[in-house]
């Protein structure tokens, strides 16, 4: 019997069994599920007789939605994870929207009047004055 994860209830084994860190019971040197070589031995003894929920269907990797009853704790973990993911996604979408000209509040807020008022002080008058003194060569007219 494989133990479950997280806060879920674990059915206490009645004998020493070797588990992978992912919780998969195996005697192999590498876990066929996660490939890890880390092992631990669970030697707890059964101290209490009680009815515990069991896992009847393989769930795949931890943290991925499995075919479990919705009342199971996996869904609760998943809901927290999805909520966190959706928050990150929503923030990224907001950043994306802010980067699009016209949708950014700072850009969209500038009206034509504001644009003109902003540009007016930067406009200046250029005054060019030129004093000249012309010296003409007088040529005599004649045939």
């Amino acid at each position: 019997m494989s133990p479950t994860h997280g806060h879920m209830t674990i059915a206490p084994p009645t004998a020493a069994e070797t588990y992978c860190r992912c919780g998969y019971e195996t005697e192999l040197s590498f876990c066929p599920r996660c490939g890890s070589a880390d092992r631990f031995t669970f030697t707890a003894t059964q101290v209490q007789e009680r009815r515990l929920p069991t896992v009847d269907v393989p769930r795949g990797r931890p943290g991925v939605a499995g075919r479990r009853d919705r009342s199971d704790g996996v869904d609760a973990v998943m809901r927290v994870g999805l909520l966190r993911a959706s928050r990150i996604l929503a923030f990224q979408v907001l950043l994306l929207l802010a980067g699009i000209p016209g949708l950014s509040p700072a850009i969209a807020a500038m009206t034509v009047q504001e644009a003109i008022l902003r540009a007016k002080p930067a406009t200046v008058v250029i005054i060019f004055s030129d004093r000249r003194r012309h010296h003409h060569e007088l040529r005599q007219r004649g045939r």
Binding site: I107, M110, V112, E114, A115, I116, R118, A119, K120, P121, A122, T123, V124, V125, I126, I127, F128, S129, D130, R131, R132, R133, H134, H135, H136, E137, L138, R139
Partner: protein, 296 residues
């Protein structure tokens, strides 16, 4: 014989491209001497009529011929003349402060010779000026893709407003704004990109910024269109030096512009008859009537 004509005083518009004291304006605002002098023009008037009569024409019949004759006569008059000049260049800020300026970089005006061909040193009609160090309000340059129909606001100091007899003199400190849109992408006589806009502009707007709705520069006002028959400005067909060309002009200078945006130039061929919006030129500072344009 020596003659001292009344001082030539011209005004145009400019804008701070760098808050440390760098100003951009049109080259023909700062170097109007590429135009023929008003003295030369006055002197040439007396010789234009006989030349026209010799061709069987009277004034106003053929403005193009008249202008060509005037150019030839003026060039001939200038050839026998030695000119001693003393020029000054000032920048009048919106708070009333008047600062002397020096030229840091120049791309000459697109000028035409008497036969109407572009001069060999014709350029982008931009100049970079430097005033004393300070903290000035500066405009960013948009290199966003301009599209036909995009809003354009031209800021500047038109001579008509500066010298309006019914307005208070303090009006000269606040830029006038005209609104329009990008109406086309053209090329000038030497193949440079220009943006056509229907935002009104007139003499004195030269060098002024044309901004978009995001307060970033779209282009610099450079020339308007003239009626071929009367020679007066036709509104709704004005032209800007694109912002991306201003950025190119400022390469290699100390100017630090704000964040440059992406650019995509788009031009189409063809151009109409045009005239640079000249700095307002007047024979005396008090005169409100006589101003001329700088032919380019």
């Amino acid at each position: 014989m020596s003659v001292s004509p009344t001082p030539f005083v011209g005004t145009g518009s400019g804008w701070f491209v760098d808050g440390r004291g760098y100003v951009v304006t049109s080259a023909h605002v700062v170097f109007p001497h590429r135009c023929r002098s008003s003295y030369g023009r006055r002197r040439s008037k007396r010789r234009v009529d006989p030349a026209l009569r010799a061709q069987g024409l009277t004034r106003g019949q053929r403005p193009d011929v008249e202008e060509r004759i005037r150019g030839l006569v003026t060039d001939r008059a200038m050839a026998t003349m030695t000119v001693t000049r003393s020029s000054s260049l000032m920048v009048l800020l919106s708070n009333g402060t008047k600062l002397p300026a020096e030229v840091k970089k120049l791309s000459p005006t697109l000028a035409l010779d008497a036969k109407g061909a572009p001069l060999p040193d014709a350029g982008r009609d931009l100049v970079l000026l430097r005033v004393k160090d300070g903290v000035y309000p500066a405009l960013g340059i948009s290199t966003r893709d301009g599209q036909i129909g995009d809003a354009v606001h031209i800021l500047g100091f038109p001579a008509l407003i500066l010298t309006h007899e019914l307005l208070d003199r303090s009006i000269s400190l606040e830029a006038s704004v005209t609104n329009g849109a990008i109406s086309g992408f053209r090329k000038d006589a030497i193949g440079q990109d220009v943006i056509q806009t229907d935002a009104p502009a007139t003499y004195g707007n030269s060098g002024g910024p044309a901004i978009g709705n995001d307060a970033a520069l779209v282009g610099v006002m450079t020339f308007v269109s003239l009626s071929p028959s009367t020679g007066t400005a036709v509104q709704g067909f004005n032209f800007l030096v694109p912002g991306k060309d201003v950025l190119k002009f400022l390469e290699g200078t100390d100017v630090r512009i704000g964040e440059p945006l992406q650019s995509r130039g788009r031009t189409r061929s063809g151009h109409s008859s045009r005239e640079t919006i000249g700095a307002r030129q007047r024979s005396s500072p008090r005169s409100t009537r006589s101003y001329r344009t700088c032919r380019t």
